[in-house]
Amino acid sequence: MSRNNYGPKAQPSSGIELIAWWFTRVSGLILLFMALIHFSMMHITMDSWNITYEWVAQRYSTPFWKTYDIIMLVLAMFHGCNGVRYVIDDYIRPQGLRVALNSLVYVATLALLIYGSVGILTFNPLLPHMQVEKSNVTEPAMLDTTAIDSTSVVTQ
């Protein structure tokens, strides 16, 4: 695989590097469809300004969109983590700084993964503090005509 006559092999020979290399390609092909559908749903079939809390709550009322979003989150975070790791390994030569930056990327990836998954999985719009308040329904304002019309009776 990935053998050509133009130069060194682009594919690592074995081990974690090979797994990471394949994961980037496979997850990229899956994410191609998932991410483009996600983007077109949010920006093209409906305007992103029309996204409301109720719309998202309705989306997450069935397991399908929760699963879709979690799979997309996991694949995208690992795909991105691997990509940034390639960039750091290419441009940062001093070993201490490289280890520090790579660790930062791994910690950020894990933190976002956990935070995002917990947010999606534990979303419960039926809890009292998570419900949309219906108290902003105001009665139509009554015109106060006592000053100009002495015959009107304003009942309290």
Partner: protein, 126 residues
């Protein structure tokens, strides 16, 4: 700036450079996107105020720019992944790049119509 075109790599090197830049940009955006979307579990008011960060007309162009970045990274990445899985098409690398850029232009124009014309320009013309 145009010296970058004097390197021998031509389209392949430019494609790779933009792939890296777009990947880093998407990762940075994803960081902010996950944090802002996690406001969902803090209640409707916090979620709406997080979404209100985007409700400025000027940011529609930033949204469109994000769409272009994702589109480029996706198309180029597909080309890379397909070339890595099927070794025999690596000979057509440059032709595939041109096909990819034609597709990119078509989808960019369609995206401009959907995201910018319908929302900003059509309301401006009225």
């Amino acid at each position: 700036m145009l010296e970058v075109l004097k390197y021998k790599g031509r389209e392949g090197m430019l494609a790779w450079a933009f792939h890296r830049l777009s990947g880093l940009a998407i990762f940075a955006f994803l960081f902010a996107h996950i944090i802002e979307m996690s406001m969902l579990s803090y209640g409707p008011k916090n979620f709406e105020s997080a979404l209100n960060l985007y409700r400025y007309n000027l940011l529609r162009f930033a949204e469109y720019g994000l769409g272009l970045v994702v589109l480029y990274h996706a198309l180029n990445g597909t080309r890379i992944a397909l070339m890595d899985i099927f070794d025999s098409i690596q000979v057509f690398q440059k032709k595939l790049f041109y096909i990819q850029m034609v597709l990119f232009t078509l989808l960019a124009i369609y995206g401009f119509y959907e995201m910018i014309y319908k929302t900003v320009i059509a309301n401006f013309i009225k």
